[in-house]
């Protein structure tokens, strides 16, 4: 009898140790903070997404806004004011009740200039204070000093923190709470026992007991551990890994289609850059930039570099962004004839197999990219041959990332650069820091005092207009024009939008990978592991 008891105990221990309801995946780096208001990099925003409760959530799958802690909301006063009806009976993970005071406290903390949080930047539309008023425990009104574009969607990033809990940011309203953190090893998130959501059958969510977010930079090790069954999910697979895994475990890989991310090229148009005058003239020439864009065979990049897991880009909006895409724009043709016509129009001519400019200078320039990125290196090898067809010599230079950033943002000692951009937001107001000529990320010529060209001035005007308007149709019309100008002037050459590739163990149930970050775990509260019983909670 005693023996049987021991065996049962051992079996129970083994079942518990097997982590049957613990989902495991990797973060690339350690989160530097668990304060949701300070979350900045991918690790921090992932933890915030899984632990933080928000008033309004952008559904990553349908791309629609949904009420979470707010059951209703209304934007008024041309984007200066938003009223929320808050959900009743919600409690923080430590049991503290959720009321309007928590919303007011969160907004006060968020807008504190001393906090330096990037989450608050889009909400700082004009000088002045943000006011939050509570008409009752479950009615909140937030008023901004100026109109905020896409105001409701901004609250997807604002995790509510408790005004009264002694546990401060540790008290959360999301599906999971921070359980344990071992720097360099893992972050363990445990099920929030007070999470307010229930499924259609009335079961308390989340289904999982815990999430183990292991810190792992090495993608090969991550893949190996997934194949061994030690991980359940891999977010953002590269195409080569995807194909390898696809051959071995076809049921485990997911291609969710084009992501919002860009692969782009831009030329140095900074006036103070240490460039010869003739090269500065090339890079300032719209014909030259468009010719380079036309000469690049994007289809080959998609087929050869991405093994088909990418989409040729026409502009700054991915086809994944259904509302904001300007459907009139088509990707550049890759036609040698079109590219040569543009170059001839710009005063360039062929001498034998070499392209020269009007003054007889051989067209040769360098393009830098970051070391260790095989996709970039392959892309550059293809582009090098594409441009050689036009008589252009492209010198490929691979630099370590800090050196690259130093060159493109401080010394401006470069000619052209191939870079990847990660986009997490659908709304163009998030691209203000790229398209405004005065912006720091106006990468081809940052921080212009006044717009250097008429078309940049026009983009400034249109971007400000779309940002100030609350009418989605008007905003769309303004941003369509911006996309058209960008296509005509080619300050940035958009090459491809890589697909959102992921690996999901067949044991993970209810997975519905989305192209928007955090891809697979966007519905973490509804994910289940095979063999795990959904307990009657």
């Amino acid at each position: 009898m005693l023996m049987r008891g021991v065996i049962v105990l051992l079996w129970c221990g083994a079942w518990a140790a097997s982590g049957a309801s613990e989902l495991r995946f990797c973060l690339r780096i350690d989160p530097k903070t668990f304060n949701p208001l300070l979350a900045e990099d991918e690790s921090e925003t992932t933890v915030r997404y899984l632990t933080g409760g928000v008033l309004i959530r952008l559904n990553r799958y349908t791309q629609e806004l949904e009420g979470e802690l707010a059951t209703q909301w209304k934007v008024s006063e041309n984007g200066r004011r938003i009223d929320f009806e808050l959900r009743h009976g919600v409690r923080f993970s430590d049991g503290a009740p959720f009321t309007c005071q928590d919303v007011a406290h969160t907004m006060q903390q968020l807008m504190d200039p001393a906090l330096h949080t990037p989450v608050a930047d889009p909400l700082r539309s004009a000088p002045g204070d943000v006011e939050t008023k509570c008409a009752g425990p479950f009615t909140a009104t937030v008023r901004f000093p100026g109109p905020v574009a896409n105001l409701a969607a901004q609250f997807d990033q604002v995790a509510i923190i408790s005004a009264t809990s002694p546990h401060k940011e540790s008290a959360v309203l999301g599906p999971f709470e921070l359980g344990e953190y071992k720097p360099g090893a893992y972050v363990l998130l445990r099920r929030n026992p007070n999470y307010w959501k229930r499924d259609a059958n009335g079961h308390a969510l989340p289904y999982l007991d815990s999430l183990r977010l292991e810190i792992q930079q090495n993608r090969e090790l991550e893949l190996l551990r997934f194949r061994r069954g030690e991980l359940d999910i891999i977010n953002k697979l590269d195409p080569e890994m995807y194909d390898r895994l696809s051959a071995e475990m076809p049921r485990a890989v997911v291609d969710a289609g084009p992501s919002l991310d860009w692969e782009t090229i831009f030329f140095n148009q900074v006036d103070s850059a240490p460039l010869p005058e003739y090269k500065r003239r090339w890079f300032h020439s719209g014909d030259f930039r468009r010719a380079i864009s036309e000469g690049i065979r994007r289809d080959d990049i998609v087929r050869i570099v991405y093994h088909g897991h990418a989409h040729a880009a026409a502009g700054p909006v991915s086809v994944a962004n259904r509302f904001w895409l300007n459907p009139a724009l088509k990707p550049a043709s890759g036609s040698e004839g079109t590219a040569m016509s543009l170059l001839e129009h710009g005063g360039f001519r062929r001498v034998g197999t070499t392209l020269v400019d009007g003054a007889g200078h051989k067209v040769e320039f360098s393009m830098i990219t970051n070391a260790g990125n095989k996709l970039h290196e392959r892309m550059l090898a293809l582009i090098q041959q594409d441009l050689a067809r036009l008589g252009i010599q492209l010198n490929v230079v691979v630099l370590d990332f800090p050196s690259l950033i130093e060159r493109i943002s401080r010394t401006f000692n470069y000619e052209a650069v191939l870079m990847a951009w990660a986009n997490i937001d659908l709304d163009p107001s998030q691209q203000m820091n790229i398209w405004l000529s005065s912006a720091a990320n106006h990468q081809w010529n940052p921080n212009e005092k006044t717009a250097a060209t008429p078309w940049e001035a026009e983009i400034d005007k249109l971007m400000r207009a779309q940002n100030a308007s609350q009418d989605p149709k008007k905003r769309k019309a303004y941003f369509d024009q911006v996309q058209q100008i960008v296509a005509d002037q080619a300050p940035m050459l958009f090459l491809v939008n890589p697909n959102a590739l992921a690996a999901v163990s067949p044991s993970v149930k209810n997975a519905a990978p989305a192209v928007l970050s955090p891809q697979i775990i966007w519905n973490a509260d509804r994910l289940q592991l095979g063999g795990t019983l959904v307990s009657e909670r």
Partner: protein, 273 residues
């Protein structure tokens, strides 16, 4: 005593000679340019057209192997020669002059060895002009390797020189009033030759592997010029290697060449001067 024929040495020399001849005659042996992309034949298996198949950009692997061998096999000995010369000058002078000079050089060498040379190499590489052609870029890479690889040999050469300087015959020569220059050229340098040669032969494979390592980091020879390092990067995709074993050709060649160089080194060390 005359040096007998060592069959291993002969084989090693023959292999190296064949590899060098094939790489120098790459233009005649290869059917395609190393840079030409056959985009409709990416990752193709070996065929009459492509003897070792094509890489992931559709480039002829055989042509790239020959040209890559030229890059590695010509430039690595040049870098080794440079580093051995620097090491000989610094280490030899320190050992010969002794006293304060020796202490300064020893401390300098220790300091140099303690530097993370990879980061130094990356930093120097990042400072180079961007519009250097691929050939210039690879030459600079090996030049940097040569300039940074002198410290360890210098330490050995210093110790060897010190031993020679304290040897009976040099003390006697010095006592007989032979000038320092004559002492150095006539007596010291010829006896340092085995150490210098050993350091040279040791450095050649070291620099080949260093370039390969830099290539693995994406910081070696720039596109489209091939090198062993750049070709070895393909082996990261191990599942593709299992399916396409011909991808191992650069690794096999690297092992063969480095083994031959080691064989030469051993026979050189074992041989009397």
């Amino acid at each position: 005593m005359s040096r007998g024929i060592n069959p291993m040495r002969t084989i090693a020399l023959a292999v190296l000679a064949i590899a060098m001849a094939a790489s120098l005659g790459a233009g005649l042996l290869a059917r395609h340019s190393y840079a030409e992309q056959f985009r409709d034949a990416i990752s193709a298996p070996p065929s009459a057209q492509f003897w070792l198949g094509t890489d992931e950009l559709g480039r002829d692997r055989f042509a790239r192997l020959l040209y890559g061998t030229r890059v590695s096999l010509v430039l690595a000995p040049c870098a080794a020669l440079l580093s051995t010369l620097i090491a000989g000058l610094i280490g030899g002078a320190a050992g010969y002059l002794g006293g304060r000079w020796e202490r300064i050089v020893t401390a300098g060498v220790d300091l140099f060895l303690s530097l993370p040379w990879l980061f130094l190499l990356l930093a120097v590489r990042a400072l180079l002009p961007l519009n250097a052609s691929p050939v210039t870029s690879v030459a600079i890479t090996f030049l940097l390797l040569g300039c940074l690889g002198w410290a360890a040999p210098a330490r050995i050469i210093r110790a060897g020189t010190r031993t020679l300087v304290n040897s009976d015959y040099l003390v006697q020569a010095s006592a007989n009033g032979i000038s320092r220059w004559r002492l150095f050229w006539r007596h010291l340098l010829p006896n340092l030759r085995p150490i210098l040669l050993a350091q040279f032969w040791l450095s050649v494979p070291l620099f080949i592997l260093s370039e390969a390592n830099l290539g693995l980091l994406g910081l070696g020879v720039s596109e489209p010029l091939p090198s062993w390092g750049a070709m070895l990067r393909e082996l990261e995709n191990y599942s593709a290697v299992l399916k396409n074993p011909w991808m191992l050709a650069p690794a096999v060649l690297l092992v063969v060449i480095v083994s031959c160089l080691q064989l030469l080194l051993r026979t050189e060390e074992g041989a009397p001067c």
